[in-house]
């Protein structure tokens, strides 16, 4: 399983794009929003946590179809399915690799990008914490969506349509926790709810995703 993680990370680094693309997209969103909303500092700092969350979510969405698609096309997925690793493990590792390549860099970059939107002082801390807890759920839910659409030639758009409603609870609790924390209110409840979603997704969705992959390999 570690070999699979190492391979996926290596592929992401060599193919380029992996780390860079999501981050670049996130930067563009963070830059565009002030142009659309106006430069007023008070408004920007109020919406900053929410915008950063939406931006991170969309950046995450961008790379989902690569979780399984390439391995499906070149036959690796067939071989992995017959390998001694259980399919659930393969799914979990691939979601983890996706998180390391997109979710984690986004989490690390978000406090910095917050400066573009006048994010106020405790906000940096809160956006980091909420994304750190929430992005694993985004990767895992995304892996489930990718497993459903892996057999389709142009599944990218459909993947977004399937995954976006599934992202809503995570987004609501994540952005709410970040907003409350930034405003100096208690963010314990939404934070715990989001942690629950992440834990539940990581524990259960590998089974659903593995089932979907097996169906698609048939």
């Amino acid at each position: 399983m570690i070999a699979l993680l190492v391979r996926d990370m290596r592929l992401a680094v060599r193919a380029g794009g992996g780390f860079g693309l999501g981050l670049a997209f996130f930067l563009i969103v963070s830059t565009l929003v002030p142009f659309g909303v106006g430069p007023e500092a008070a408004i920007l700092s109020r919406i900053a946590p929410g915008i950063l969350w939406v931006g991170a979510l969309l950046a995450c969405l961008l790379s989902l179809d690569r979780i399984f698609q390439l391995d499906f096309e070149d036959g690796s997925l067939d071989l992995l399915a017959t390998a001694p690793i259980p399919m659930e493990g393969t799914v979990a590792i691939k979601a983890l690799a996706h998180w390391l390549v997109t979710g984690l860099p986004l989490t690390l970059a978000a406090p910095g990008f917050g400066a573009l939107m006048n994010l106020q002082s405790p906000g940096h801390y809160w956006i980091f914490i909420t994304l750190l807890i929430g992005t694993p759920a985004l990767s895992m839910i995304g892996a489930f969506g990718a497993a459903l659409t892996v057999g389709l030639k142009r599944g990218g758009l459909l993947l977004s349509l399937l995954v976006l409603p599934l992202y809503i609870p995570t987004l609501i609790f994540g952005a709410e926790a970040a907003t409350r924390g930034t405003a100096g209110l208690s963010a314990v409840t939404p934070l715990l709810m989001m942690a629950g979603i992440t834990a539940g997704s990581v524990a259960l969705l590998p089974f659903a995703a593995a089932a979907a992959l097996r169906i698609n390999l048939r």
């Binding site: 809503i168 709410e176 709810m193 659903a208 979907a212 048939r218």
Partner: protein, 244 residues
């Protein structure tokens, strides 16, 4: 004789063919009088005006929108566990009706909301939940449409329906938390009998019964069509194999 026998396509086609005209007739006999009664023979409410009469469409369609998804969840589970074709085809058939009901509920809600609250749309928990439900229906139907092999499509959409149900429920709680009811939703609710006098309530019940019967009729028709489509697909493959 077990209930599962009706999951057999032969039994289903025979029985549904016989039952269908009766269901259609009953639906017409409840829905049309129910709507006429509700629209024209109920007194005008003192503080709501005539606009309140839209509940005779709005409430039943909203109820159906949710219940149809629940029915799809059950039939999807049956397909996953017992592999009855009729079951999963019924889920697919119901989705189109469910999404229509959701759209009707959203539109009638907007039309009613304008005179009531002065806005067509508010990010009220209830409205937001229906919008999310609409997205779930869209995703489910899009997945059906995208996959060519009927069995693969049936399996994958069933998995999506089950996982989606969990997330739809989560969304409902998340939305409630996110916007803790800026306006009182209780007046919308039909199960609060004390809020609705009998003169309004009885025709409403008739309309709800009518919508349920209408749904049963439509889902039977569409399931029959879906089963024919499966057979068509199957015959096409056979022809192709004979040529090869």
């Amino acid at each position: 004789m077990s209930l599962w026998e009706f999951a057999n396509p032969v039994k289903f086609m025979a029985l549904s063919g016989k039952v269908l005209p009766w269901v259609i007739g009953l639906a017409a006999l409840t829905l049309i009088p129910g709507l006429i009664w509700g629209f024209f023979f109920t007194p005008e409410a003192t503080n709501f005006g005539n606009s309140v009469k839209i509940i005779y469409i709005h409430v039943p369609s909203a109820m159906m929108a949710i219940n149809i998804w629940a029915m799809m969840l059950v039939t999807s589970l049956i397909w996953i566990v017992r592999r009855h074709h009729v079951s999963v085809r019924a889920a697919k058939a119901a989705a189109l009706i469910g999404v229509t009901m959701t759209v009707i509920a959203l539109i009638t809600g907007a039309i009613w909301g304008e005179p009531m609250w002065g806005t067509y749309w508010a990010w009220d928990p209830r409205l937001t939940s229906f919008l999310i439900l609409f997205l779930f229906y869209l995703g489910y139907m899009a997945l059906w449409a995208a996959i060519e092999n009927p069995d693969t499509a049936a399996d994958l959409t069933s998995v999506l329906c089950i996982v989606g149900s969990v997330f739809a429920l989560l969304s409902r709680y998340a939305v409630n938390f996110w916007n803790q009811g800026l306006h009182q939703g209780a007046s919308l609710s039909m199960d609060r009998e004390e809020h609705v006098a009998d003169v309004y309530y009885l025709p409403l019940l008739l309309c709800i019964a009518g919508f349920i019967l209408l749904f049963v009729a439509l889902v039977l028709i569409r399931t029959r069509t879906e089963l024919r489509l499966v057979r068509l697909h199957r015959l096409e493959i056979r022809e192709r194999m004979k040529d090869a």
